[in-house]
């Protein structure tokens, strides 16, 4: 048995013991797992590697910090309640249309930034407010939000998992739009209707009318929505005209939206809001630091290669099984990491099909990792927004997630026949 296998067992065992038995936070448990893995792998205490690994998610952490602050600010300014009320007021007569429209709103930031966390954090609170008003239970709201954000991340025009897989084999990111849309849009419509339609098809508008905050919107007018508009417009403009508008980066876009949000609506204590949002964010960032160290040690000791080669040694059927299990499970550590580490070898192992359709399907499967604990970037933030335990949200995600995985698998198996989509 390869040493890498035992290292993997030691790392996972240490993580579970520290997290479940000693009730240590996920972040600390990951760090302990990494340290034990390095010792078992004969690397001693590799301080440089632990430190270097902590930088894997630096950019993601900056996005999360600034997006959380933005979300808190638009919540305090009253924009969130007002926008939710306005959308429900306009579309309450057509609940299915309302649900699909809201799903597209969730997906949009993910589609243009390639980040599920950015999608959840930028529009999540607004959408959660709408779902609450129309009577969808909080755990299901969280599930729609999480899966919508993930499908947005996998969808074109910016599907970073697909770009990473394509880049790994020097394949241009061309021709991916239709296959990705053909997978993500049906999955998104199914998810939102499956989880939400039964709760709002008999919506009694008279009953919920009193709960709608239509006054704030009337009092402050269109300017109340300026921060949300600015963020979405900047995201879209920098993507649409990259040679004209310089790359501002998601953190700066959220900061611009935040500054705007302070002045357009209800007055609130900005410093206290900022303190609270940082307090909310630090545990997530700590988790990402721990995960980064964990991956670095997996690579250092050869445990990562052991997993990849183990999967590639399987027959065709088991290779497909690996694609729908290992890709999302490793995505629990990082969906981008899963795309690069597993997506590329899996694509190379399945070159007999249409490569673009295969890479698109692998990108969808890897993206589902953002639903998997412990990191579950999209899932955890969705749960936090709807104020539910992640385990409850995760349970609600199971059927739609299974459908997404099945769609991805079908595209993988029939990639050759689906070549006309490219």
């Amino acid at each position: 048995m390869q040493l890498g296998f035992w290292v993997l067992i030691a790392m996972l065992g240490t993580f579970l013991v520290a997290n479940m038995l000693f009730k240590l936070p996920v972040s600390i448990s990951m760090v302990l797992g990494a340290i034990v893995g390095a010792v078992v792998g004969g690397k001693g205490f590799p301080l440089r590697h632990l430190f270097e690994g902590s930088f894997v998610y630096l950019d993601t952490m900056l996005i999360i910090l600034t997006a959380t602050l933005f979300m808190r600010v638009i919540e305090k300014s009253g924009a969130m309640d007002a926008l939710g009320a306005t959308i429900v007021h306009r579309f309450h007569k057509a609940p299915a249309t309302l649900l699909i429209l809201v799903m597209l709103i969730i997906m949009f930031p993910g589609m243009i930034t390639g980040s599920s966390a950015a999608a959840v954090l930028s529009v999540g609170a607004i959408v959660a407010q709408i779902f609450q008003l129309i009577g969808i239970p909080d755990n299901k709201s969280g599930a729609i939000l999480a899966i919508g954000a993930i499908l947005g991340m996998a969808a074109p025009p910016v599907s970073i998992p697909a770009m990473l897989i394509a880049g790994g084999v020097d394949m241009p990111y061309i021709g991916f739009a239709v296959p990705l849309l053909c997978m993500t849009i049906p999955c998104a419509i199914f998810t939102v209707l499956f989880l939400g339609y039964r709760h709002c098809k008999g919506m009694d508008y008279e009953k919920i009318h009193d709960k709608l905050d239509l006054e704030t919107a009337q009092k402050y007018g269109i300017r109340l929505y300026a921060p949300i508009g600015i963020v979405l417009v900047l995201m879209a403009l920098t993507r649409a005209f990259p040679s004209v508008i310089p790359n501002l980066g998601m953190p700066l876009i959220f900061v611009i939206g935040t500054v705007c949000g302070v002045f357009v609506g209800k007055r609130f204590d900005f410093l206290e809001t900022a303190r609270q949002s940082i307090a909310d964010t630090v545990p997530v960032c700590a988790k990402l630091v721990g995960v980064g160290m964990f991956i670095q040690i997996l690579t250092l000791t050869g445990a990562r290669g052991t997993i990849v080669v183990g999967c590639l040694g399987l027959g065709v059927v088991l290779l497909y099984v690996c694609c729908v299990t290992v890709l999302p499970v490793f995505g629990a550590i990082s969906s981008f990491g899963a795309s690069s580490v597993f997506g590329v070898p899996f694509l190379l192992a399945m070159l007999s099909g249409n490569q673009i359709v295969t890479a698109s399907a692998l990108a969808l499967l890897a993206s589902m990792g953002d639903l998997m604990p412990p990191t579950a970037l999209a899932g955890n933030y969705a749960a936090q927004i709807v104020k539910q335990k992640y385990s409850d949200v995760f349970r609600a995600c199971l059927v739609p997630a299974a459908v997404c995985l099945a769609v991805g698998l079908l595209f993988l198996i029939f990639s050759k026949n689906l070549g006309f989509l490219v």
């Binding site: 479940m20 009730k23 690994g53 930034t113 970073i160 880049g167 980064g292 690579t299 070898p345 190379l348």
Partner: protein, 385 residues
């Protein structure tokens, strides 16, 4: 039966003293690691051999990179007789060490009697100053020479984020409009032909393009390594104008017993040397790949031994599963073999240039494929001073 009880360590509360201790420990870690990481900014010495007639800086061809971490040395070998010229790009990707070592081998051994040879050992010099988080690569490796050991930096595939950050979500290649993932924005071999007012990395690639234009370089060869599971491996990739030259070189390498293939540069994959330097300059652009397991996704323990020996039981297993594009046995693909292939490739291109009527470049003093394999790369490096 004894009931298992968990111990809730999360209930332990911190206080000002524990916070102070934590900060102090963090400070000590930062200081000690800062010394390690800053050490990567000190370039390994390269000793100019008997054939180097002069050195220049890349910024001599585009002053937009002067004084930055992107500026780098060019070693120039001018023959007494005029002839064609060839540029060797080593260190495009500093995590592919045979590129740097082959360039160093030429710098320390080559003598040119006809034509001109240009060698850039560290094309993306900024990328030598860092490693990639998540990849767990060694920061350096050591080659034994008859006069003592010499250390070389193992760097990153991409420009140091200290010099260019943050990455955009997606990277738009300016001259073609091609989209790539944002991290490729710091990969110099996706930024050619470069832009004088572009990013840090685009300025460096623009300087390389300017060098080729201003010196009217006949042939440019970019030295790379690839993971054994990557299809373009043990290959010479050539721009369509360079196909005739490259096919002669490939034939010559095959006659020496090296398995190598000739691949055309894809017309729809932009930013790479073999595409853009061929399209935007008059040079005949080619790129060479050897097999390096240290950069593969299937690799086992990642350390200096893997970089040097190229031996990896996981790759042996993957080869048995039929997942690789290069034969992979227990002996692996050691660094000397990889450098030997590149060296032989450059020598064959030099020979083919004359045969193809591009003008002669006569180079002597450089060991051949069999010599490097038998003696090891260290035997042909100058001793450390």
């Amino acid at each position: 039966m004894h009931k298992f009880k968990s111990i809730d360590l999360s209930s332990i509360k911190g206080n000002k003293i524990s916070a102070a201790i934590g900060l102090l420990v963090a400070l000590c870690v930062l200081v000690s690691l800062a010394v390690t990481f800053l050490g990567a900014r000190v370039a390994e010495p390269i000793y100019a051999g008997p054939g180097v007639t002069r050195t220049a800086m890349l910024s001599d061809y585009f002053d937009g990179i002067a004084g930055t971490a992107g500026d780098t040395e060019i070693y120039i070998f001018e023959g007494e007789k005029p002839g064609a010229s060839l540029l060797v790009l080593g260190g495009t990707h500093p995590n592919e060490p045979s590129g740097l070592l082959t360039a160093v081998l030429f710098i320390e051994n080559a003598v040119v009697t006809e034509g001109t040879l240009y060698v850039i050992p560290r094309t993306n010099s900024s990328a030598f100053t860092c490693t990639d988080p998540q990849e767990a690569e060694p920061m350096q490796y050591t080659i034994d020479t008859p006069g003592g050991a010499r250390s070389f930096r193992f760097g990153s595939r991409a420009t140091n984020p200290v010099n260019q950050w943050p990455d955009p979500d997606i990277y738009l290649h300016s001259s073609s409009g091609q989209l790539l993932s944002g991290s490729e924005t710091r990969n110099i071999n996706r930024t050619y032909p470069g832009r004088p007012d572009g990013s840090f990395t685009e300025k460096v690639s623009y300087a390389v393009t300017e060098l080729i234009r201003q010196e009217n370089i006949t042939i440019t060869v970019d030295l790379h390594e690839a993971a054994p599971e990557y299809p373009t491996i043990n290959a010479l990739v050539a721009h369509e104008r360079a196909m005739s030259l490259a096919s002669s070189a490939v034939f010559g390498m095959q006659l020496q017993g090296m398995p190598i293939s000739l691949e055309p540069s894809p017309t729809n994959l932009h930013g790479l040397t073999h595409r853009e330097l061929g399209d935007y300059t008059d040079t005949l652009a080619v790129l060479m790949e050897t097999a390096n397991p240290a950069q593969g996704r299937l690799r086992g323990r990642t350390d200096e031994a893997l970089v040097l020996t190229g031996q990896d039981p996981l790759y042996v297993k993957a080869g048995q599963y039929g997942r690789l594009y290069v034969p992979f046995g227990d002996s692996g693909h050691p660094i000397s073999e990889r450098v030997a292939r590149h060296t032989a490739g450059v020598l064959e291109l030099l020979a083919a240039a004359g045969e193809a009527g591009q003008g002669n470049i006569e180079v002597s003093g450089v060991p051949g494929y069999a010599e490097i394999i038998s003696q090891g790369i260290g035997a042909y490096l100058l001793p450390p001073e």
